[in-house]
């Protein structure tokens, strides 16, 4: 059976699993919590915290659909999105190994590389879908509660204002960059999943790696290793709001992350196509 056919089967299976939807509900919960906080709480104080500009005086509220989509991204990219995608990506091989279904599948005339490719494609699609869901949910909830307007974005170097069209464009770019980073994390979880027959191990290892790389990246002594740590690019999505956008820097970051993705897939293919299925 072709990778495409196998992908169809993987989608069919994945959709029927509870863990697929945990991420969706989790993100929706976060969006709603932030929206409620902005709507009913002390908005100006909250906005100050969100933008890290407590003393900045703004006339009129910056809060709208675009603003909500802007602020929920940094709240999820560093932990929740990686966690939720690892839950799915890290389960791809290890989960089926644990359940014994991997053995059942591989008694069939299914090419191992094609199966792995189908599962990896699924992980990519899941990352894309979950990130897009976050954006759409934030825009929808924000539109319902606050309406639509231009985007006020606060960076370390000051405040920027984008019109609606430019705001949507910047947000799309930012969500795309976030998705690439999250995909790199998912690839690590996927790789670990070919090594384990316990579906919790990939999540644990991936989260541990994220923390470790994050710590390394903050120690000046390891400065030279920084370009090679995937966590270095965790904040890449924020640079979509730079004025002007530094496209070469973005391209470089995306390239580094994609190298991670491709390398993880290649290594997992090397492991999986040779591995003895003993579970």
């Amino acid at each position: 059976m072709s990778t495409f056919g196998l992908f169809g089967i993987e989608i069919f299976k994945q959709f029927r699993r509870l863990r697929t939807h945990i991420g969706t509900f989790g993100l929706l919960g976060i969006v709603l919590a932030v929206a409620i906080g902005l709507k009913y709480g002390d908005a100006s104080h909250f906005v100050g915290r969100l933008t890290r500009q407590p003393n900045f005086q703004i006339y009129g509220s910056p809060v709208n659909a675009l603003f909500l989509a802007r602020v929920v991204l940094p709240m999820t990219v560093f932990l929740f999105l990686p966690l939720f995608v690892s839950l799915v990506a890290g389960d791809q091989i290890s989960g089926e190994a644990a359940d014994g279904t991997l053995r059942t599948v591989l008694t069939r005339p299914v090419n191992r590389f094609a199966l792995l490719s189908a599962k990896f494609t699924l992980a990519i699609v899941y990352v894309g879908a979950l990130t897009a869901f976050l954006g759409v949910a934030a825009l929808t909830v924000g539109w319902a509660l606050f309406g639509v307007g231009g985007l006020v974005s606060f960076g370390w170097d000051g405040v920027s204002y984008f019109g609606i069209a430019e705001g949507v464009h910047r947000l799309t770019l930012s969500y795309g960059l976030a998705a690439v980073y999250v995909l790199a994390v998912a690839s690590v979880a996927f790789l670990v999943s070919t090594l384990s027959s316990n579906s919790l191990v990939p999540i644990g290892v991936t989260m541990a790696l994220m923390v470790m790389c994050g710590v390394l990246g903050q120690i000046p002594y390891f400065e030279s290793a920084k370009p090679y740590l995937f966590t270095t690019y965790s904040e890449l999505f924020l640079r979509a709001f730079d004025v002007p956008v530094d496209y070469p820097a973005l391209r470089h970051g995306v390239f580094a992350l994609l190298v991670y993705v491709v390398a993880c897939f290649c290594v997992s293919a090397l492991i999986f196509t040779r591995k003895d299925i003993l579970s």
């Binding site: 089967i9 053995r103 059942t104």
Partner: protein, 319 residues
């Protein structure tokens, strides 16, 4: 491409010098097997003998440390997906997607084998007797039902060769009987070649036309069940009024030692002509012979004998 396979006399399954080592432990040791088209082949051995490991190698789940497996004319190591095209298999306890129904599982795995019609799926579920629960989630199945589902999903794509690992494990006595009848039918009625492993002698004896016995990863014997039993005659039992005296008389006149005696019988190893002669002698001396019977040799006798021989060989090797 595959059509010519139907007509050749090439064996369905060949294992040549098949070995698997886990570290320093040898689970399967230079195994040679040959299964011809149409056979129902029993792969018999005690727990831990290496049956499942062998089947995993046959299906390409595990790569052999040495040796080659050919399924339906194709080398599994080189052309795994082509070799498995017409094979239906179940290894160890069948595992399914518990969040899907039995029918969805059978359908899904049939698709992986190249597809089965909805009719074939239903037919397979019916054959193993779980059609009434086919639309419940597998999560709710008992162990025996999963075992049956395993057989159904092996059969649904209508394979030429069926490989089943201890298919009656976990079934109740009635289920065991049903499944054995079903397996016998696969060969006789559906023209499939069946390779099944078992640790139960009588199961293989009841179901299989051919058998290979494995112990500690090594092949002990292989052949047609009838032939194996025929080569190993059991003793002839005489039901007689004075067994001890009768035994002494036969020993004195024919030089044949009794195998055993009890209150009513004496059992002596002898061929047909000798049995007739012994009868004449006994009757001539006034013994009352009420029955002569050659106890049918069971596979168990052969098997236990083989295991004993093997132990002796190994003991001799150690000295």
């Amino acid at each position: 491409m595959t059509a010519d396979l139907q007509t050749t006399d090439e064996p369905c399954l060949i294992a040549a010098g098949l070995s698997k080592r886990f570290g320093s432990f040898t689970a399967v040791d230079r195994l040679d097997l040959k299964v011809d088209r149409g056979q129902t082949f029993g792969f018999l051995g005690p727990n831990g003998a290496g049956k499942s490991t062998t089947i995993r190698m046959m299906l390409g789940l595990v790569s052999p440390s040495a040796g080659v497996v050919t399924l339906l004319g194709r080398d599994v190591a080189l052309e795994r997906t082509k070799a498995l095209k017409r094979v239906g298999a179940m290894v160890e306890i069948p595992a399914f997607y518990s969040y899907l129904t039995g029918r969805q599982n059978v359908r899904l795995f049939a698709r992986l084998s190249g597809g089965a019609s909805e009719d074939d799926v239903t037919q397979a579920l019916k054959l193993v007797g779980i059609l009434h629960r086919a639309d419940s989630k597998v999560r709710t199945y008992s162990h025996g039902m999963k075992q049956r589902l395993g057989i159904a999903s092996a059969l649904a794509p209508r394979p030429d060769l069926v490989i089943l690992d201890e298919p009656t494990n976990g079934l109740d006595p009635e289920g065991v009987r049903e499944v054995r009848d079903l397996i016998r039918d696969l060969g006789t009625r559906h023209g499939m070649t069946v390779f099944l492993s078992s640790h139960l002698l009588h199961e293989v004896e009841q179901v299989c036309s051919h058998v290979a016995v494995i112990a500690n990863g090594r092949l002990m014997v292989q052949g047609a069940v009838s032939q194996l039993l025929g080569n190993h005659f059991g003793p002839v039992e005489f039901e007689v009024d004075r067994p001890e005296e009768a035994a002494a008389l036969i020993q004195a006149t024919m030089g044949l030692a009794p195998h055993w005696t009890d209150d009513t019988r004496v059992a002596i190893h002898m061929d047909r002509a000798q049995a007739a002669e012994a009868n004449t002698i006994l009757v001539g001396k006034g013994f009352k012979v009420s029955a002569i019977e050659r106890r049918k040799q069971t596979l168990e006798d052969v098997y236990l004998q083989l295991v004993r021989d093997q132990a002796e060989v190994e003991a001799a090797e150690l000295q």
